[in-house]
Symmetry: C2
Subunit: 374 residues, 2 copies
Amino acid sequence: MTALRPLRPSSKVLPVDARGHNRSLVLQTLYREGGRSRADIARETGLTRVTVSALVAELISDGLVVELGQREETRPGKPATLLDLDRSAFVIVGLDLSEHSVFTGALLDLDGAISARAEVALDGSTGDEAVAKVVALAERLIEQATAPVLGIGVGSPGVVDLGGVVLSAPNLGWNGMPLQSILADRFGLPVLVANDANAAVLAEHSFGGADSDAMLITIGHGVGAGLLLGGTPLFGSRFAAGEIGHVVVGTDGGAVCACGKRGCLETWLSIPNLIDRLEGEQGTARTAVLQEAGQRLGIALAPVVGALDLSEVILSGPTELLDGPLMAATVETLRSRTMAEFHGSLTLRMTTLGPDIVLRGAAVMVLSGQLGVS
Amino acid sequence: MTALRPLRPSSKVLPVDARGHNRSLVLQTLYREGGRSRADIARETGLTRVTVSALVAELISDGLVVELGQREETRPGKPATLLDLDRSAFVIVGLDLSEHSVFTGALLDLDGAISARAEVALDGSTGDEAVAKVVALAERLIEQATAPVLGIGVGSPGVVDLGGVVLSAPNLGWNGMPLQSILADRFGLPVLVANDANAAVLAEHSFGGADSDAMLITIGHGVGAGLLLGGTPLFGSRFAAGEIGHVVVGTDGGAVCACGKRGCLETWLSIPNLIDRLEGEQGTARTAVLQEAGQRLGIALAPVVGALDLSEVILSGPTELLDGPLMAATVETLRSRTMAEFHGSLTLRMTTLGPDIVLRGAAVMVLSGQLGVS
């Protein structure tokens, strides 16, 4: 017996879909493992050698796959030709719009390594002016590209729908801003726009070793989260999944939040609020402030960890504030407020990807959308 | 642009998979809509008429589809023959093991309607003795079946893995009990065992009008939840998704729970605890007890609603306790503790399926697993 199937099959499967799926399967095998022969790929994917050979021929002619040379064989017979994804065949433009005063961007190779960077100061721009700065940043990066651009990935603050329309990003004054189609029209390239925390959790999954059930919390001017369930990003019924910054934490009051409520998670945990609370504090008083913030995060997350049975929660933000008493208090609070039987082994850790996590997540969106690899 | 694809394609698509998928697509169209011609099905599924005719011929010979007769046409030409799923072709055995003192079971038709019932008193049985009672109950129902049995669906308390092994059900003394394979071996029929709340949310989706993003809370001796995200049930990293009964609620103490912690959701909300608190209370004092329980449910759910961006939460349990001040307090608490912008329109309601919800969910598991319909 296997898992229940997804309910309500909603679209037919055509031979062309199967072909696209199998093409992605070959690319994925090479992307993750590299240096594989056609026979290796057939064995690992379960596809026939004939199918693999046809798909590989197509991928070589598309410039996506290259022959590396022949494997040194220990057994007699014709040595196998090794194949790899041509990781320098394309570059990806990644943009991170989540910082408060600056838009950052990078050129990334197919492994998510950064080869060039650019940034543009926001200077308080909002609305169309802010969009013009996104366009200028992308333009500057595309000019520097030394290989064809596979696509543009963008991590935006706020609520973003599946068509890349930023439904709401108050700091940028965007309400229903069709950023994805603006960029696609301007550059004639595939463009993918998603919420910054959703981009970040994809990066952590592809490059940071996250499980296929993971929650990544981004802690900066605001507090947000990206969720991956069964390897699939969760978007939510109004594309607002992960918007936990304005959930009230605890039943004992708290500071008044910018949103008007009292005791929202951001009042305890956003970096500006945390720096305010830490001002002038030293030693144990400083530790106590960090611990309290960590406890509040644990209180907020306990029902989510319980309901979703998460095995891993990852934090992204300033390491000097988060990694230490704050994180220790979060994990202790989480364990003391959920069933030890299931959540005693929960992992809480900092991202290994540092401040480039959203840029790299933007690249994963393009890799996944254009090549079906991640 | 469409949604990001699920990450990491992990298995090949074969023509036989496409055929199975398309067969389910035809069945699903007939299951939901009934009275359709071959041409209607082709139009609605996007499959060719030739493919639809071949699949329909196969389904008729399997006894799953019947011809109803000819449609009265307003236009000239050959009238179309209408088809339907033969809803009496098979029966399904559904078992609900979630009640404290009795196992209940039913025979259901393919629409989830109950045609016969049986039950067996638990009398404190645990372990293999409890399994023997499950077998006896299934046997009694199978004897009453007037059509071939499509399969056996079981909603069990506790944590159940995807192979139908009950990893932990303390009340029944089951730890790693392979209930699904025991029943399959005994009866030679397809068997599906899942957690009772997971079964219940499937029933609510198929028969109760729940969205494809929904959380169903079962409130009885314990408190549990079943989650459907994008139409797919969530199981969690240790198959313990929805285990929210032992999450601590609030930061102001609470009663000591059977699990040893203080202030778990069950201490406020389980039916025995609620009845204890209500004992001897009348009028406003009674209302206050119900409101407090509802507030605690709202406090526990707020981070989950925020993180998942749920549009609908459904309660299952005794209507006389839940539907009134308790539920009103839950929805008010949820709205006051999350972002009004997104969650102001959240729906909280009682299930429309009453106490048969787990039995009907068990039938959905069989329908979905055996026919690909729901």
